[in-house]
């Protein structure tokens, strides 16, 4: 489903290279965990997958279902089923959460050639999804992410993922800021979406999340490259030896 080949990317503004020859393949149905120390380029990779303009790809390619997505803007990528749950979801004052959800869902429907949702149908979908994530419905009356706690923002990201039904879900440190109960709720939400035609890239700093969302593959990122890949036991190994030991060994 996703093939990243020898990807090099830099910050558009100042030319600093962050991703330095990254290779990664994720198959449909797979849950791939990306781990790595702070600053190794995990968020940057997620932004590049989503099409953020602040980064410039200088070499290599990203294939999604066999086609390069580098020329597509973020909305076109979303329309093809790519979703990023942000590490730091943005607060957007003045944009009502419900209005935003409706516009987003209908944009994707339009891209797929479907009619816009009728209001009652839309309300029902949102209500059910919010209920399953144990979200306070009052939150949805506020402007997008404004005044949400860290944990509420993460839940809101998963809510959007449930509603938009993407095919490639990139979760960037969705566990940070969540207490253990919230983590379970969010993980259950993700697990419920696992299916043979959907893939997940789960970025995390800690092994904790992977106890709840059990990955098929684990990849260790360091200085903008995948330095080691393995199965879920690699995550446990990291937990005992730390990144330093492992990265040293790979280098």
């Amino acid at each position: 489903m996703l093939e990243i080949k020898n990807l090099h990317a830099r910050i558009a503004d100042d030319g600093t290279e962050i991703i330095r020859g990254l290779d990664l393949t994720v198959k449909a149905g797979e849950v791939a965990a990306i781990m790595g120390p702070n600053g190794s380029g995990k968020s940057t990779l997620s932004y590049i997958l989503a099409g953020r303009e602040d980064y410039e790809v200088t070499e290599g390619d990203i294939l999604y279902n066999g086609e390069s997505i580098l020329e597509l803007d973020p909305a076109e990528r979303a329309a093809r089923g790519i979703f990023l749950a942000f590490q730091y979801p943005m607060e957007i004052p003045g944009v009502a959460t419900m209005e935003f959800l409706k516009v987003a869902m209908n944009s994707l429907r339009k891209a797929r050639g479907e009619d816009p949702l009728k209001i009652p149908e839309f309300m029902k979908l949102v209500k059910n999804a919010a209920g399953s994530l144990e979200m306070n419905p009052d939150m949805l009356k506020r402007p997008l992410n404004v005044g949400f706690s860290g944990g509420e923002k993460k839940r809101a990201e998963i809510l959007q993922m449930k509603l938009l039904e993407p095919k490639l879900c990139v979760l960037d440190e969705t566990d940070s800021g969540l207490d253990i109960d919230a983590l379970k709720i969010v993980a259950d939400g993700v697990n419920a979406l696992r299916s043979p035609d959907r893939a997940f890239v789960v970025i995390t700093h800690y092994q904790r999340l992977l106890e709840h969302i059990v990955p098929d593959t684990v990849h260790v990122l360091s200085q903008g490259r995948v330095v080691k890949s393995g199965d879920k036991s690699l995550a446990l190994e990291l937990e005992t030896h730390g990144y330093a030991g492992l990265i040293g060994e790979a280098a």
């Binding site: 099409g51 953020r52 973020p74 909305a75 979703f83 942000f86 957007i92 003045g94 987003a104």
Partner: protein, 420 residues
């Protein structure tokens, strides 16, 4: 007084003088009124203001006014349905006030009839460098005098329409709101075809009255619109003025508000949507002269194309006006490289126990926000539209009246579809 050397008149100034000589016999008024018109014309003959005149520094009227069209006697503006449900409509069409009924507790006269009797002649006195006042005084043909009796709560909004179909249209609305009365006015400035329009509101808000006034200016792209809103706000009363500019080629809307009465409150909210080569100038002069008077001013602008926007906000606090509280803010969102918005805030404070402040920002669309929305599948133009709407949401939603909010949102959406 400014001493002007006798200048060589520009083509537009000459045109104004010529239109005057052909129009005068049709313009209503007894001798006293005609005298005022002549005086106003003399002011015009001394030359329209240029950027050397302080109040016109950002709007060089002499250069910008462009071609002055002739008055078109045959022009027939299209009738306009009211914007809010059961509003009481008062229409001035091609400079003629249509016959109107009096709603309960409200007395309405056509200005043409009052001018003929010499009433209101003193309202046709223009100030120094007051070109809007002078052009209107010289040419005003009709309008309405509206008086709301003491204690009356006028149920439905009164919609004031000033409509043209090209040519010239000069009208006035003279309004007196009695003590303790409550009323909403919605003024609509609209028309088709190239035109020179002037429109003046003179509003006296009685003690403890509550007045809401909305001006919706949506002139055609080749219209010069010169507007002035003058108000005196009485003791313990409340005036909220909302100005939306979404049209016109050259627009100058002045707001002059005096608050001599204790504990009066004034609010100005303004939304300016500027595209193409529009030049739009909102100029406010606010006098806090009574004790404990309060005001807030919030101006939000979206500018694109080669549009030029101006907000001049002058707040004067008299020595007697202790405990004045005045807050002014002007925020602009600039969507193109060539568009500009100039802000000139001015606080002149002679009292020592006051809380006054102002702030201005100019920003572009936040790229991180745009990315977030697009990453959810919202196409770029639509995502920008959401952010533009978000920028104005606070000001528009404050209006609360659902029909009005919807009507303004529709205008925003149409404007953005075309220019965003």
């Amino acid at each position: 007084m400014n001493v002007h050397a006798t200048p060589k008149l520009t083509a537009s100034e000459t045109a104004l003088v010529e239109v005057f000589s052909t129009r005068l016999s049709d313009l209503p008024g007894n001798e006293a009124v005609t005298l005022r018109r002549d005086t106003a014309l003399e002011a015009i003959k001394r030359g329209l203001p240029t950027r050397k005149v302080e109040h016109w520094h950002y709007t060089d009227l002499r250069r910008l006014i462009g071609t002055v069209p002739a008055f078109d006697r045959t022009a027939k503006p299209e009738a306009l349905p009211v914007l809010i449900g059961d509003s009481h409509r008062l229409t001035v069409s091609n400079g003629r006030a249509e016959k109107a009924e009096n709603p309960d507790g409200v007395t309405i006269h056509r200005l043409k009839e009052l001018f003929a009797k010499g009433e209101l002649a003193d309202q046709l006195i223009a100030g120094v460098d007051d070109s809007v006042g002078a052009i209107n005084a010289a040419f005003v043909s009709d309008g309405f005098a509206i008086s709301v009796a003491d204690g009356v709560e006028v149920q439905n909004p009164i919609e004031l329409q000033n409509l043209h179909a090209g040519g010239q249209a000069h009208s006035r609305f003279t309004i007196t709101v009695g003590a303790g009365a409550k009323v909403t006015f919605l003024e609509r400035q609209a028309g088709a075809g190239a035109a020179l329009v002037s429109s003046i509101d003179k509003v006296v808000v009685g003690e403890g009255a509550d007045v809401r006034f909305i001006i919706l200016q949506e002139q055609s792209e080749d219209t010069t619109h010169l507007g002035k809103f003058e108000a005196e706000v009485g003791k313990n009363s409340n005036l909220s003025l909302f100005v939306m500019n979404v049209g016109g080629r050259l627009v100058r809307q002045e707001v002059h508000v005096a608050m001599p009465g204790e504990a009066a409150h004034f609010e100005l909210r303004s939304v300016n949507l500027l595209a193409n080569a529009t030049h739009n100038d909102l100029t406010m002069v606010l006098d806090h002269s009574g004790y404990g008077t309060t005001s807030t001013e919030l101006v939000r602008n979206i500018v694109t194309g080669k549009a030029q926007g101006v907000f001049q906000g002058q707040i004067r606090v008299a020595r007697e006006a202790q405990k004045t509280d005045a807050k002014m803010a002007c925020n602009s969102l600039v969507l193109s490289d060539e568009a500009e918005f100039s802000v000139k805030p001015e606080l002149e404070i002679f009292a020592d126990d006051v809380a006054c402040g102002h702030g201005a920002t100019v920003a572009e669309i936040d790229h991180a926000h745009l990315f977030y929305l697009m990453a959810r599948g919202v196409p770029e133009k639509e995502a920008r539209g959401l952010l533009v709407k978000a920028f104005l949401a606070e000001v528009i939603e404050e209006l609360e009246d659902e029909a009005l909010v919807t009507a303004l949102e529709v205008r925003l959406e149409n404007w953005f579809d075309e220019h965003g």
